[in-house]
Symmetry: C2
Subunit: 345 residues, 2 copies
């Protein structure tokens, strides 16, 4: 908390969000949703349904993006995001963000965008090669517009996304330097405490497209099947064999979700000694996940029956965000000395 915020008792502004390209899953829950539910009490929190950004690599399938705006909003509300405390907003309906993006593109060079390690890696991971959509190369400027448009001071990001924060602050510093005052605040990255949740198959990242995810709205039998397929210790062939805990997805999940850490510790020791079968552990984690996901699924299903209610929340959040981001746009334009019908300097 900066000196200013403690003086005025203003809560720091935090911006986060998701590309609506699929329903959220346990990986999102561990990596961000849980902490967002906590942060909405201590921060002025904005959640951005980043459908404009999702278009940078889904322009061929806008329908997928559109459908998932509602799906992700349902996930937010189901896990306990409270629209009275958190503003949920739809990026494509905030024109000031598009205008700020275009402006910021003039304050960053192509060479700088290409050097961004996140962009470099994602270009490789997505196999774009040289035929990368221009919008994809430009999306750090779009993120800078998001962050500064809301005047966010804190931005929760994965460790691999820290360069995007640095890119944003470079643009902020360049504009502040040019206008001779701090029209935009710099922001800080907030790196999550619990890292990435592996997929049920043991791969480093849980991802819907890789088929190793458990969706937040998963049905009981889907949870059961996913747990059944969980990666354990491939060398633990007989119950009596000693088993390995590290890299064993069941234990990673028990660490992440089982509230009884002492029993989990005892189970780990038993497994390492030998004499504890995988099925016992899988039944335990399945019970934990079923208990945790049942109320989320129920809330999600109830909300899904009342889309008008959810759309109203998005509409209200977007109206509030529209005003805020428009205000920022006007401040930046005014500071830069751009054309305005109102002030005819």
């Amino acid at each position: 908390m900066t000196a200013q915020t403690s003086q005025t008792n203003r809560r720091p502004v935090i911006l986060t969000g998701d590309r609506p390209t699929g329903p959220l899953h346990l990986g999102h829950f561990v990596g961000s949703l849980k902490s967002r539910v906590a942060l909405q009490d201590s921060h002025e929190q904005y959640l951005l349904l980043a459908d404009t950004q999702a278009m940078t690599d889904n322009a061929h399938d806008p329908d997928k993006v559109r459908r998932n705006v509602l799906e992700v909003a349902l996930d937010y509300l189901a896990v306990g995001i409270d629209p009275a405390k958190t503003t949920i907003t739809v990026q494509s309906h905030l024109p000031a963000l598009a205008e700020l993006t275009l402006m910021y593109l003039n304050f960053v060079t192509v060479a700088r965008l290409e050097r961004n390690p996140t962009i470099k890696e994602e270009i490789q991971a997505r196999g774009f090669g040289r035929d990368i959509p221009a919008g994809f190369l430009c999306y750090p400027a779009s993120q800078a517009a998001d962050i500064t448009g809301f005047k966010a001071e804190v931005v929760p990001v994965g460790e691999d996304q820290a360069p995007l924060i640095e890119q944003t602050n470079e643009i902020v510093r360049r504009i502040n330097h040019q206008v001779g005052r701090d029209v935009l605040p710099e922001c800080k990255a907030m790196i999550p405490q619990f890292g990435r949740l592996p997929g049920v198959d043991g791969k480093a990242k849980m991802s819907k497209s890789m088929g190793n995810a458990i969706a937040l709205g998963a049905a009981p039998e889907q949870i059961k099947a996913a747990v059944h397929s969980m990666y354990t210790d491939p060398n633990h062939l007989r119950v009596s064999d000693p088993g390995q805990v590290e890299g064993n997805v069941v234990f990673t999940y028990l660490d992440a979700f089982d509230p009884n850490t002492e029993e989990v510790q005892a189970l780990k020791e038993h497994y390492q000694r030998g004499g504890l079968g995988d099925m016992v552990l899988k039944r335990r984690i399945e019970g934990v996940l079923q208990d945790m996901l049942a109320p989320i699924r129920e809330r999600r299903e109830a909300l899904a029956k009342d889309p008008d209610y959810v759309f109203d929340i998005l509409r209200q959040g977007t109206a509030k965000a529209r005003e805020l981001t428009q205000q920022t746009l006007e401040e930046v334009r005014d500071a830069l000395g751009m054309f305005s019908f109102e002030s005819r300097r």
Copy 2:
């Protein structure tokens, strides 16, 4: 004119405009302003004060762009652009164009933008090297947004800008193909009949920054001085010498502006035979230019005393354009199937 336009008696939509980076000059008058005054009777004409685009290479000096929005508007009105026939509008106050630009950036690759010969040449001419602002690389997408945002069917461009029209139509075809119908019209380039007016120094292009221009609002003594410095035939040393007409700026200007083509033809022959001094010719072209520019200057000065009137014209034109471009944005989004609060498919 397409079959459709002749059937409905609708006037074809034409979009043109200028980057407001300096007052307009005789080069603009010959190359575009004169034909715009004629076209406003046969076309539904929109003039875009492209201040957003001007920022792509003037981000360090937004004040220059801002000041020149009014200057260029004064030039338009002074030469006879009639706000009752032509809609004059300010690009930075049309958020739908920014939103369309960001969308189109997803339908064009970086490699394609880099291959654009206009961009290639301008990068070289402006000395950007590898440190080109990202906004500058992206400006063909911004032009595509302008053209399609107004659903322009005809776009007057210099011969060197024809590739930008092709780039726009590529984006249009890609989107129309994806949505399975013609949501956006393709556009046609209109190449001006009279080519480029050379600078008074004989260089191919008249340009304020090169100091070889005569501004439309130039004072009589500025016109006199510019004509005095005009490039003629450097080998025409004595009045009795035969002189060369080709490349002789005075004759180029007489061809462009002197209403009496027969007398100009006689002067050319006399000059080629020998016995006609440069000063006689310069006095003639000075008289022609003074006569032509005096009423333009007077209208310009009168309008400059009433900026409220000019701002009202821009405000009204921009309000009309805002509605039109917003409508296009919504049609494109709807066709692509993007998120909307209104239609919840």
